[in-house]
Structure formats: structure tokens, C-alpha cells
């Protein structure tokens, strides 16, 4: 049994702010409670209030508090990125269309099998793409489909959300609408048919 320490609101804010700044990965409230606040007496409400207060404080500063998939992190204000990127010489990696299309299908249709991805894209998905996405920890196997061959089912991870600065899958841009018109109607219209040449 450890004695819980009482801290003032100011101390709680200091501690949480510092913890988010020094953590190597985004810090979730759960991890915050299990580590930094392990011996601190602070209700969930007080923690929420502290986070809100920190977020507000940084509204007018060069860095801001954001919530992404796996927790809270500070990041530079986006409008400063053009200047700040001079600090790096390497260019950010570009991703191929094949990779992006595969990732989009997994993000929007998860859990999905590789076969289903290939069905939509009309081409086979290279093992390299699946492996790279897994090594980046953007996707993972979450189960196996109950069909012959039991293919793996893929889903996106919190690291995927972190990378794209999304707090959840519901923050993804909306899937473009398909045409509402009934395909059958359009197609059965004889005027659409071409005359044979």
C-alpha cells in the first residue's frame, strides 16, 4: 500500500504538462494514471480539468496540445511548419499510390482481408506493401476470416491515427459518395447503347 499524495491543481497541471512533453509516444490518460500519477490522489475529473487548462494555455503559443489515437502530445502549430522544416535536411517519405490505396481500403473497410483489397483494386497487392505497412505499425492482423483458407483480417492501429494526427477513425475524411443513380436504370436505357461500328 502506498500513501497517495495530495497535490494542488497547479502541481497537477505542471506534472501532466511535463509528462506529455517528455513522453516518447503520445500519452493516454490511462498510462498517465498508471505511471506519473500512480501515487497522486487526483480524480478523473481533476485530470480532465488539468488537461483542459493546459490545452487552453497553449492556444497562444508556438506549440499546441492535441489528442491523437494513442493519447495526448504537443506539436508545433501547423502554420509554422514551413519555417521549422528547415531544421531537417531529409525529405519526408512519399508513399506510392498502391500503398495509399491499400491503406485507404484497410482504414475504411476494416477488418478486411488481402483478397478483398485485391478484389476492389483489381490487381494483386504485393507482399512488400503489406509487410511495410505492418513494420510501420500502421496495420495489424486482428483475426482470421471464417472462410476456406482462413485469411488474415487487417485493421489500422493507433500508430496509424497518431501519424495522421487523427483522434479516431471517425475523423477520417468522409468516403466519397458513389453515384446515387441506379446503375440498372441507366444501363437498360437503350439510348445509352452504342451502335455497332
Amino acid at each position: 500500500m502506498c500513501v497517495m499524495r495530495r497535490v494542488s491543481d497547479e502541481q497537477l497541471i505542471e506534472l501532466i504538462e511535463a509528462a506529455i512533453f517528455v513522453s516518447e509516444t503520445p500519452l493516454s490518460k490511462k498510462r498517465l494514471r498508471e505511471t506519473v500519477l500512480k501515487e497522486v490522489a487526483a480524480s478523473g475529473m481533476r485530470v480532465d480539468e488539468a488537461i483542459r487548462s493546459i490545452s487552453e494555455h497553449y492556444q497562444t503559443r508556438g506549440v499546441q496540445l492535441v489528442e491523437v489515437g494513442s493519447g495526448y502530445r504537443f506539436q508545433a502549430c501547423k502554420r509554422l511548419t514551413p519555417w521549422l522544416s528547415n531544421l531537417w535536411q531529409e525529405k519526408a517519405p512519399k508513399y506510392s499510390r498502391a500503398t495509399l490505396e491499400t491503406l485507404a481500403l484497410i482504414a475504411y473497410r476494416q477488418p478486411i482481408t488481402r483478397g478483398e483489397i485485391e478484389q476492389v483494386r483489381g490487381v494483386s497487392v504485393s507482399s512488400n506493401i503489406m509487410k511495410s505497412l505492418q513494420e510501420r505499425e500502421w496495420i495489424k492482423v486482428v483475426g482470421f476470416k471464417e472462410v476456406p483458407g482462413k485469411p488474415a483480417l487487417y485493421a489500422t492501429t493507433n500508430q496509424f491515427l497518431d501519424y495522421f494526427s487523427l483522434s479516431g477513425l471517425n475523423m477520417l475524411p468522409e468516403l466519397p459518395e458513389q453515384h446515387e443513380v441506379k446503375i440498372e436504370q441507366m444501363l437498360s436505357d437503350p439510348s445509352v447503347r452504342e451502335s455497332s461500328e
Binding site: A18, F21, V22, E24, V63, R73, F74, Q75, A76, K78, T81, L84, S85, Q89, K91, A92, P93, K94, Y95, R97, A98, L100, E101, L103, A104, L105, A107, Y108, V120, R121, G122, V123, S124, S127, D162, Y163, F164, S165, L166, L172, P173, L175, P176, Q178, H179, V181, I183, E184, M186, L187, S188, P190, V192, R193, E194, S196, E197
Partner: protein, 266 residues
């Protein structure tokens, strides 16, 4: 079935007479170049491109003209020895089959039957949907490119050194054995004299560009005296250079001169 199919079997297009003009030595149709540079993500992608290029709606899918063009491009890609996935040929066969069904007179009793294009149209729509979803995804702000994480440190002298993972030498050996077992699947990558000459040509192009203020018109890089195979090697070398992001390919308007330029170094 119908004799239309017999008259125009799907693969006759691939090995038979050309449907569009083949590139004569130096001549590669500009928009063929443009689309090949875009490197298609598969037959659906190529079909979508052809439909969009004619400013048509997917729902109008003009099967006759689209089939002709599709087959022509597949042939051109074969000609340029671009790696052609089997799916492209399957699609050519499917298009030919739909075409032959479209040419059949509509019988009363077939009235209930679905339009032969319906399934393909559905797939095209679905693919288009995810194609633009992928483009949207690429636009999202992301780490490394648009977002910089703000960190602070802790005074090292007071923080216990983070535990580092332990590994045994045996694990290292097993890891290597794994790579080698997997490497078997890559064995078909054979050394050919052709890829050598492609890489040599790549260097020549880079050299030429750097001697000419870093850019030149696309056509300048072809030498008539090298004939057809020389053109193909040069062209493939350009595609490789573009793929490796060593050069850029610019075309201001659809039918204007194409320029190649060196990728600017930071």
C-alpha cells in the same frame, strides 16, 4: 455462342494487327507517354483513365471504343516491355466478352437479363471511390511532412536508464535464416544485360541533363541512329529515373512539349 466471338477472339488484339499506330522509331504518342508515366494501378485504373479522358461518365461505359483503346494501351505496354500483370489480360478478355454480348440483338426473353456492363460498372465505381479516398488520405496532415512533435527532455542524470531489449546470438542467426528463406521468392529477379544497359542509359541521361542546365526537351534524349530498341531503353531509363525521383517530367498543357529536369537537390 455467337460467331462474333469467333471473329474477334479477345487475344487476337494482342498479337494481331495494331489498333492504334505503333510508335515509329522516335515517335511515342504524347498521351500514351503521359499515361504510362502515371503508371497504372491495374486494369480498373487504366479503364477509369480512358473513361475520364473522354470526359465520359462511368455509367455510360462505351464498351466498343473503350475496349479498342484498352487493348491498344496494353499492347503498347507490352511493346515497351513494362511489366504487365496478368490482370490486364483478364480484363481484355472480359471487355471482349461484354462487347460480344452487347452486339447481340436484344431478344424479348432477354429483357429481364442484366446489362452485361453492370458488374464492371459497379467495380469501376467502387474502385474510383477508394482511389479518391487514397488521394484524400495523402492530403491529410501527417508526421514527418506537416506535423512536428514538440518534446522536452528530462535531466539525464536523474532518470534511470531505459531498459534495452535483450537478444541472444541464436536469435540473430534465426533471423538471418528467416530472411534467406523468404529471399527464395525473389529468385526470379535475374540479371540481364538489358537492365545493365538501362542503368547505363540512366547515368547518361543524368549526365546530359547536368551539362544542360538541368533540363531539356523530352525528344532531345532519343537518338535516331539507335533505332527502336535504343528508344525503348532510353524510355525505360527515363521511367526508372522518374520512379526513383531523380528527374522530373513536366508538361504544361496536354499537347505541349514535354520537358525533363533534374530533381533539385536540397
Amino acid at each position: 455462342m455467337s460467331d462474333v466471338v469467333e471473329k474477334a477472339p479477345p487475344f487476337a488484339f494482342l498479337h494481331g494487327q495494331a489498333v492504334i499506330e505503333k510508335p515509329e522509331d522516335l515517335y511515342i504518342p504524347p498521351d500514351a507517354l503521359e499515361i504510362i508515366l502515371e503508371t497504372f494501378e491495374g486494369p480498373l485504373d487504366l479503364l477509369l483513365y480512358l473513361i475520364k479522358r473522354h470526359k465520359l461518365d462511368i455509367l455510360e461505359l462505351p464498351i466498343l471504343s473503350i475496349t479498342q483503346q484498352y487493348v491498344a494501351y496494353v499492347e503498347l505496354m507490352t511493346e515497351l516491355r513494362l511489366e504487365l500483370a496478368g490482370e490486364y489480360l483478364v480484363m481484355a478478355a472480359l471487355l471482349a466478352q461484354i462487347k460480344s454480348r452487347m452486339l447481340l440483338p436484344v431478344h424479348e426473353e432477354l429483357e429481364e437479363e442484366e446489362d452485361p456492363r453492370a458488374e464492371l460498372v459497379r467495380r469501376l465505381q467502387e474502385y474510383e471511390q477508394y482511389k479518391s479516398a487514397a488521394e484524400n488520405l495523402d492530403q491529410l496532415p501527417r508526421l514527418e511532412r506537416d506535423i512536428l512533435v514538440a518534446r522536452a527532455l528530462v535531466d539525464e542524470s536523474e532518470v534511470p536508464v531505459a531498459e534495452t531489449p535483450e537478444i541472444a546470438l541464436k536469435e540473430l542467426m534465426l533471423a538471418l535464416a528467416d530472411v534467406m528463406a523468404r529471399a527464395k521468392t525473389f529468385e526470379h529477379h535475374q540479371i540481364t544485360t538489358e537492365s545493365l544497359s538501362t542503368r547505363e542509359r540512366m547515368s547518361q541521361i543524368l549526365h546530359y541533363l547536368s551539362e544542360n542546365d538541368g533540363q531539356c526537351p523530352f525528344t532531345k534524349l532519343f537518338k535516331i541512329e539507335e533505332g527502336r530498341s535504343g528508344v525503348v531503353v532510353t524510355f525505360i531509363a527515363m521511367l526508372e529515373l522518374i520512379k526513383e525521383q531523380l528527374i522530373n517530367c513536366l508538361q504544361v498543357t496536354p499537347s505541349s512539349q514535354i520537358y525533363l529536369s533534374l530533381q533539385l537537390q536540397e
